[in-house]
Amino acid sequence: MKKRLIFITLLVLGSIAAGVLLGLWSSRNEATRTPVHPDIEGLLWPSPRTLAPFTVTDHLGQPFGLEQMSGKWSLLFFGYTHCPDACPLTLTVLKDFYEKLAGENAAGDVQVIFVTVDPARDTPEQMANYVRYFNGKFIGLTGTVEQISTLAQQIGVLFYKADNNEDYAMAHSVAVYLISPAREWVGVFAPPHNAEDMLARFKAIRKFVDASKK
């Protein structure tokens, strides 16, 4: 009778131990498994498009192309400096986003790029005055319409002259596009934008894409 009790006790303890070990093993297996598509709004996965070469001019008058995007996380926004409402609003969000990230010492490999859709009025000097107002590290890009289109078309950015007035307005895509250090278009942040939300999604996408590359 006593032997039987000991046997049952051992059996129960053994089962518990086996269960715990099995649990530990499977959770360890979970951690090493390749990441599946996480539920991050705006993540373009599993087959992000790799950008093709393009050449435009930055706000310092220097050539800017794919090489300047290698090894960096780039946030691209398309607009124009004569825009009184939507563009300053989005750039204010991007300024807030970038400064929050910099405050966490996590902006070293991040660049915010404002690309004009109105190169006729947006010279490199005009772009310099504009982007520096928001943040000294922001990059402004201009060029010919064809040069800008070479970049814009790859990520589905639309822009056109909205009227023929002297002070004409441009219609343009207002999403923010995320390009990975491998020059892949991995994310899109649709409007309306706010810095905290964009920051949380950016960090989640960066973590996921970095993990996928290992």
Partner: protein
């Protein structure tokens, strides 16, 4: 032509005077029931031609009021525009006038309706105040002072 007695002339004058007072009083009262608040201008980077202006118009009257224009000594021209985003593409549409139904508020706010302030006549920076005059289809124009300031980044609580 008949000649009225002198006292009847006086009576007419008094009636005209009273009617005149009533008109002035009515106009003042009517415009007092339209309240402008939270007027501000988004500071622009140096050298930019266009600025965005924002304010709230509260129509406390019992009829619709129509905003027909805005002027300021600090800008060559002011227009009303609405920013519309469709399929992530933003475009601006000029509004000739803005109708505000009785008892409602109309808000010009970033990302939607805005005063497009064209060509500053002097350099404006955060901290400056700018007089804006709003013109309506009826009644006297209203003047408001708008403060130039740096726009805030919208946060979660505004969504």
């Amino acid at each position: 032509m008949t000649h009225l007695p002198v006292h009847q002339y006086h009576r007419r004058a008094v009636v005209v005077l009273l009617l005149g007072c009533l008109c002035v009083w009515h106009a003042v009262l009517a415009q007092e029931d339209i309240r402008i608040s939270d007027a501000w201008i988004n500071e622009a980077p140096p050298g930019m031609k266009m600025m965005g202006g924002y304010l709230n118009i509260s129509n406390k009257t019992s009829r619709a009021v129509v905003l027909t224009g805005a002027t300021s000594p600090c800008f060559e021209k002011i227009e009303f525009h609405v920013t519309e985003i469709k399929d992530d593409v933003s475009s601006m549409h000029k509004q000739e006038s803005i109708s505000i139904p009785a008892g409602t508020d109309f808000r010009f706010s970033p990302g939607r309706y805005h005063l497009m302030l064209i060509n500053q006549t002097r350099t404006l920076a955060a901290g400056d105040t700018v007089p804006l005059t709003l013109h309506f289809a009826e009644g006297e124009p209203l003047q408001v002072m708008a403060e130039v300031r740096r726009g805030d980044s919208p946060s979660h609580k505004h969504h």
